[in-house]
Amino acid sequence: MIARTFLTDDRRSAIFLGLLAIAAVVVPFCHLVFPPSSLLHIGTSSVALWGKYLSFAILALSLDLIWGYAGILSLGHGAFFALGGYAMGMYLMRQIGSRGVYANPLLPDFMVFLNWKELPWYWWGFDIFPFAALMVVLAPGILAFVFGWFAFRSRVTGVYLSIITQMLTYALWLSFFRNDMGFGGNNGLTDFKDILGFPVQAPATRAALFSITAMTLMLCYIVARYVVASKLGKVLVAIRDAESRTRFLGYRVDAYKTFLFTLSAAMAGIAGALYVPQVGIINPSEFHPAQSIEVVLWVAVGGRGTLVGAALGAILVNFAKTTFTSGILAPYWLFVLGALFVLVTRFLPNGIVGTFFDVAADTRSARRPAHAGSTSASGRLREAESEAPLK
């Protein structure tokens, strides 16, 4: 049965990675090769839009890693996404150089506007891409490590941890609004020109960014899949279902949680960094708690603890969001979102992908009577969750 579970899981991975690989090639091809008049042409806005969806999919994947496999419900994962986004935004700001409105070769426009005379120390080095790329991972990673170190060592769990994560992103939201912080305040960072010397708006750059996002999602998926399938992944599930039992076996629960939380935050940071050049702006609204809660929704809709489901949930919900927030349906989007959440938790508690694979697994075990019963992964997840936590 283990072999069978792995087989299905790997088939699932293969389909998911295969589709992404195809998208990474076909979308840029259709965008660049076919003229806009052609039916096969994919427009600039569509490429950017789907690139955004894929960066959200990476964010959802990072949340599913901690929520689905270690039971850590972060309601502030948008903070790590936004930090990665700001790191990339700072690089893009420095690339503008003297092409800004005030033509200051060193200072971004908003600093000139605020009458700042010199670049704050924390902006140093962001003109160098490798440094900025490192910060994309390090800034959220270090914050998550420090946060996790304190929170998990003090054994803060469950709803208390969720509330603290929300406070974290709320505090950052308030801070980044302030002009004194030096991140552009309310307006954030925008008006980007170049990335690595290529114009951000150019079709070829957009196509490349889409491809890179798709490939990064593949890579993040492979990393996440490896982690949850490793023995460490088994320890994490053990922690999720019976934390104190795991401790009595000699595992340092706080170390495992901190490791996973940091990895997840770094992944969220990468997602943010890919989001910013495709959307063209990063501002404090990304830190807003509502954004982070939406991420939880994507994962719940797609299927918690399935990885693939989290990514698909992000794409699906955001596709729906784009559809509903334009045109006559615009005023009703929040109702749709609310209804979606209620309906999914009521009728598909394992999410779309989770339910689909449950049905598939049940059909298979029905065909093979040996050791039948509710042993499909998410079915058991449901059972385990309904049990009282070990005191």
Partner: protein, 249 residues
């Protein structure tokens, strides 16, 4: 001063109180290398609190808790104590329900508990062999690929005992191993524990007197957080104060 050179576990004058309630009241206990000891006592005698103190879940207010003469357990946390070689089986069977029987044993198997080690861990023959051997001992060989949550109550108890064996601790703390078991299962469990006791020190907390008799080991009676009597089961059940406490005379 007791001679502690042969002690595996040495408790002296341990005090624990919760909001004014004295759960342990000058508890002293001395477990030798290779010894199996049964602990009995009415509800609220402090049996579970004693286990909590030994495994690091509860910090005593006062007293000494030494393991292997040199390790002060009052200064260590659960994971550190587990890694010193103290294993614990809970009263309510707590296995990892989502994991297979095999994976439950794998997680318990003695070895490196560090994050990085387990990230890059690979299946290997020695571990597999050890798991096979334990599956045989706990009579769950036919269930290795089943989810632990799908096992019967008795099987879960055995799996948890199997996880203790896998940990290969120097000292096993076993809390009410036969609660809710059928007579046949109780019999099997007694055999299992005697088997384990051949090369481990074991402390068994139990209510079931027939079961304690079947184990045939030295018995310590706890009452109101301290030791009331110690000796063979026949000795302690003849003790006036024990009869008083148990029968309320």
């Amino acid at each position: 001063m007791t001679d502690i050179t042969h002690s595996l576990l040495y408790l002296s004058g341990v005090e624990v109180s919760f909001d004014g309630f004295r759960a342990l009241n000058g508890l002293s206990l001395d477990i030798r290398h290779g010894e199996m000891r049964a602990i009995i006592g009415p509800n609220g005698a402090g049996k579970t609190t004693m286990m909590d103190v030994i495994t690091g879940k509860t910090r005593p207010d006062d007293g000494e808790v030494l393991f292997d003469r040199t390790n002060d357990l009052t200064k260590l946390d659960e994971a550190a104590i587990a890694n010193l070689g103290i294993g614990r089986k809970f009263q309510k069977p707590t296995v990892f329900e989502m994991h297979t029987v095999e994976d439950n044993l794998l997680l318990a198997l003695r070895g490196n508990r560090r994050v990085v080690h387990n990230l890059f861990w690979r299946r290997n023959a020695p571990d597999e062999g050890r798991i096979d051997q334990i599956l045989g001992t706990i009579r769950l060989g036919d269930h290795r690929a089943r989810a632990a949550g799908a096992l019967s109550h008795g099987q879960k108890q055995w799996l948890e005992i199997g996880m203790l064996i896998a940990q290969d601790p120097k000292l096993l703390l076993v809390d009410e191993p036969v609660a809710g078991m059928t007579d046949a299962e109780t019999e099997t469990t007694a055999d299992l524990l005697r088997e384990i006791a051949r090369d481990h020190s074991v402390i068994v907390v139990e209510h079931d007197m027939d079961f304690v008799r079947r184990l045939g080991v030295r018995v310590t009676v706890l009452h109101e957080g301290s030791v009331l009597a110690e000796g063979s089961l026949d000795q302690v059940s003849a003790n006036e104060r024990v009869i008083e406490v148990y029968l309320g005379r």
